[in-house]
Amino acid sequence: MDPSEALQYTPLYDDHVSRGARMVPFGGWSMPVQYTGIIEEYWQCRKSTALFDICHMGEIIVHGDHAIDVLEKIVTCSLASLGVNRCRYGLMLNTLGGVVDDLIVFRLSDNKYLLVVNAANTRKDLAHIQQFLHGQASCQDISAKIGKLDLQGPLAREVLEALCPEVSKLRYFQCDEFFLLDEPCWISRTGYTGELGYEIFYPWAKTKILWQKILENDKVKPAGLGARDVLRIEMAYSLYGHEISDDITPLDAGLEAFLDFRKDFIGKPALLEKSNRSVAQEIIYFVSDDRRSPRQGHKIFSLDQMVIGEVTSGTFSPALEKGIGIGRVVAPRKDVGEKIYFGTQANFWPGRSVQKPFYQNGSLKQ
């Protein structure tokens, strides 16, 4: 994204401002970072239900008889086995194995797929996909027509059922078309928080009506990107620009689980070559010994105070009441429980590597 370009606004901008939200630029968009406070909004999501404005994210439709062939080639996970009304997380790679974007692929019908991509990458993704279109396959950026609300939290199902009883049939990573306030929309049972939740793809021009309707339920409160980031780090989910980027391969980002080496995909030859080299990197998850938080860009040191890597994401964890971090380090590291330090050369503090996710008690699959 060109930073000189004007900020874009979601259909909820005025509503956010009227609720006293603190607006910040994010991925080319003016987005709410918090309304009342990040930690309060965090607990709202963990204990009740929070509603997030995610209208900035990109939506791309790939359809036609050869859509599946194109997608199998450009997305790293297996999609041939993806049934209608199912969705799957995967990555698009460049020929060097770097990550163009991470995305969720929804199979809407036999030959129609919805790709949900990062806001700042939408244009790049579209150009990338267009390079590989062939036969009866076409793609279309529908981001401007589609608003997106994420309803996340242990009470999300009962909140949404009150407006759309049929939604209760959706199981984890299923999606379908529904009518919500008489508008057709797609709803998936997915999210980025570790809690039971739904992503709602709604007509852009009507999204404000839906947003306000859902917020009439006193079990729901709006939550901003600040809380969203804490929730995703506690779940050890990757974020583009942190754990992954054009220059980082999924092998260096701990995302092997989303690569299907039984098929051919763009970037696979580069990954195979790189997996043979002696110096590799890996992702570690670590907890600070106290409340002090690691920050993106902090160095990570071994016990003998040698630099072994860098923090990719860090925050304070309200659930653990400690700082938590994700970092990329030179492999191989010892098992979980290794003592490390994080910080700068001048000031660094102790922590210990742990198993992901940091937060284990989410309602995700309830």
Partner: protein, 129 residues
Amino acid sequence: MANQEEYFFTKEHEWVYFEDNVAVVGVAEYAQNALGDITYVELPEVGEDVEQFEQFASVESVKAASDIFAPISGKIMEVNKKLEASPELINKSCYEKGWIAKIQPADLNEKNNLMSQEEYTQFLEGLDT
């Protein structure tokens, strides 16, 4: 707690008031609001000497870390230990329960380098425009 009129302020939004020749210091409402939820406070050491307008503590919020500067030079007499387990006291009560440290002032003339409540209020108005 002192009357609001007895507080002095820095441009970095620290406050100080003087009680029996001891300076009680903390961060002002503007700073706690800008920082958001405070999750960690690094307190100075008791007995440490600090210089006016030099960093003597730091606070972390969910999003970032920020330095706190001493409004006056002197020796740290006492620190607010409650902030170690409850850093949110700064958000809830920045002028009272969220005080950071008590300093034995080295030179009370340094007050002249600080803003009075009235001057600080004008300073804040200037920031908003």
